[in-house]
């Protein structure tokens, strides 16, 4: 539960920026890339987490380069390439591992993996807190960011690498199919209720952690897979915040 809390905290904090940047579906696409990485790692008998990280890292650097160098639409590239990697992953992955990879199972983590997950989550949170002002500014206006000496391209890459790390962390928890939601739903809920950046970030983390801990609790109590339970609780929170937003608008 502790691991889930930390992973959810870092993912939802990252998600708040993904929402600001309108990259909501990038998490989904990225999680597909992790799949063949995990599959190949399993075949080679190394830790699937390492495989996921390696593939994700390569993918985001590829995306970043394409965004700046090519005239192809980023969405096209991501759509084609990332779905292909899902297909490859599904073929290569041993069948009994596939369900776990697709839907996650955080209870299967070894103690060492748990410690590493928590450490990396803390690192990601710290990284985001250090760069959040620059990140927000470059999302609001690249020109203004550039005018005060922020290097937008480099910042973009750091953010994407953070995104990759977050996906790799979360994939053990909710699985490749639901990973996008771990990043996006808490932040989308927070956007309904928050008006300032600080409360937006804070609420996103609170929603994420609350859904994660509640998800683990209910899933262990009723012997369910934690990932889907977490997502459903997040969706409930999202629907509640929609009502809050509605009431405010009146």
């Amino acid at each position: 539960m502790l691991v889930a809390g930390f992973v959810a905290a870092s993912a939802s904090l990252l998600g708040s920026f993904a929402i600001l940047k309108r990259m909501a579906l990038v998490g989904d696409a990225l999680s597909h890339v992790a799949l063949p990485g995990m599959a190949i790692a399993l075949l080679l008998k190394i830790n699937p987490f390492a495989g996921a990280i390696a593939f994700l890292g390569t993918a985001v650097i590829g995306v970043w380069a394409v965004e700046y160098k090519s005239s192809l639409s980023l969405e096209t590239v991501v759509g084609v390439f990332f779905t292909a990697s899902l297909a490859v992953g599904a073929l290569v992955m041993p069948e009994h591992e596939l369900i776990e990879a697709l839907f996650g199972n955080i209870t299967a983590l070894t103690p060492l993996e748990s410690v590493i997950s928590i450490a990396l989550s803390i690192f990601l949170i710290a990284l985001l807190l250090v760069i959040y002002k620059k990140l927000t500014l470059s999302m609001v206006s690249t020109e203004m960011a550039q005018s005060i000496g922020i290097r937008n391209k480099r910042l973009d890459l750091i953010f994407l690498l953070g995104f990759a790390l977050s996906v790799a962390l979360g994939i053990r928890f909710v699985g490749a199919l639901l990973m996008g939601s771990l990043v996006i739903i808490p932040a989308a809920s927070a956007k309904n209720t928050a008006r300032s950046l600080k409360s937006f970030m804070a609420q996103s983390v609170v929603f994420g952690v609350a859904a994660a801990t509640a998800g683990i609790y209910f899933s262990s109590r009723y012997a369910l897979t934690p990932g889907p339970v977490f997502i459903l609780i997040s969706v409930l929170i999202f629907i509640t915040t929609l009502f809050v937003r509605r009431m405010r608008a009146v």
Partner: protein, 230 residues
């Protein structure tokens, strides 16, 4: 007067298409340069290349140590963006204090009450002022101002220009202004640069802006007048 900016033989290409060809001009310290031209003439691209945001060929030489403020044409934000005006100012970094923000708001004639509003909620005209104040917080030597086209009505535009020129007089700012409004150019600019992919004219407005140049620039009187009021 010394030049604060020298541009020589600037070329910009985008996806293989030429956006700007062989542009040369310079800007004197403390002066106002107006950049005019039809939509799609490459005016915004020119400003972006001057701050190094897009790649280009040619020479761009700023005076050493110059501080540049940039006011973009429009911001890519949603009306419900969770960011207050105050937070937007604080994105500049920790050297921005409440006092400085108040002074900057004062110079653009905005009420400090606006600080708690969301950046996406305020009107376009107010946001334009917020952007100018934001740039002013950096105590720039040069202000690059990309005029919003259809978003603000004429009176709103005039009051923003008034405020800009007050700011310029007070602080001795150099300004590069992208504008559609020829009145602005005649009244306030010491020199004008007409762009339509190529450099069509450059010099003091009263000498270089004859009707022939304008026709070449906008493709006839009619097109020009429509543009002005659009």
């Amino acid at each position: 007067m010394k030049n604060i900016l020298d541009v020589k033989h600037l070329h910009i290409e985008f996806n293989g298409a030429s956006i700007l060809e062989d542009i040369s001009f310079s800007v004197e310290e403390g002066s106002v340069l107006a950049v005019i031209g039809p939509n799609g003439a490459g005016k915004t691209m020119l400003l972006k290349s001057l701050i190094g945001l897009i790649p280009c060929r040619g020479e761009i030489t700023w005076r050493r140590g110059v501080r540049i403020g940039y006011v973009p044409q429009r911001m890519d934000i949603e009306t419900d963006v969770p960011l207050t005006v105050n937070e937007f100012f604080s994105l500049r970094g920790s050297e921005v204090t409440g006092d400085k923000i108040k002074k900057a708001l004062d110079s653009v004639q905005l009420n400090p009450k606006i600080l708690t509003s969301g950046l996406g909620e305020i009107s376009v005209g107010q946001r334009q002022r917020v952007l100018v104040a934001w740039a002013a917080l950096g105590e720039p030597d040069v202000l690059l101002f990309d005029e919003p086209t259809a978003d603000i009505d004429i009176t709103g535009q005039e009051s923003i220009y008034k405020m800009l020129y007050n700011l310029q007089k007070e602080k001795g700012l150099t300004m590069l202004i992208v504008s559609h409004d020829l009145n602005v150019v005649y009244k306030h600019a010491q020199s004008v640069l007409c762009l339509n992919r190529k450099n069509l004219c450059y010099g003091p407005p009263r000498t270089v802006l004859d009707s022939e140049t304008l026709q070449g620039l906008y493709g006839g009187d009619k097109a020009f007048f429509q543009h002005k009021h659009g």
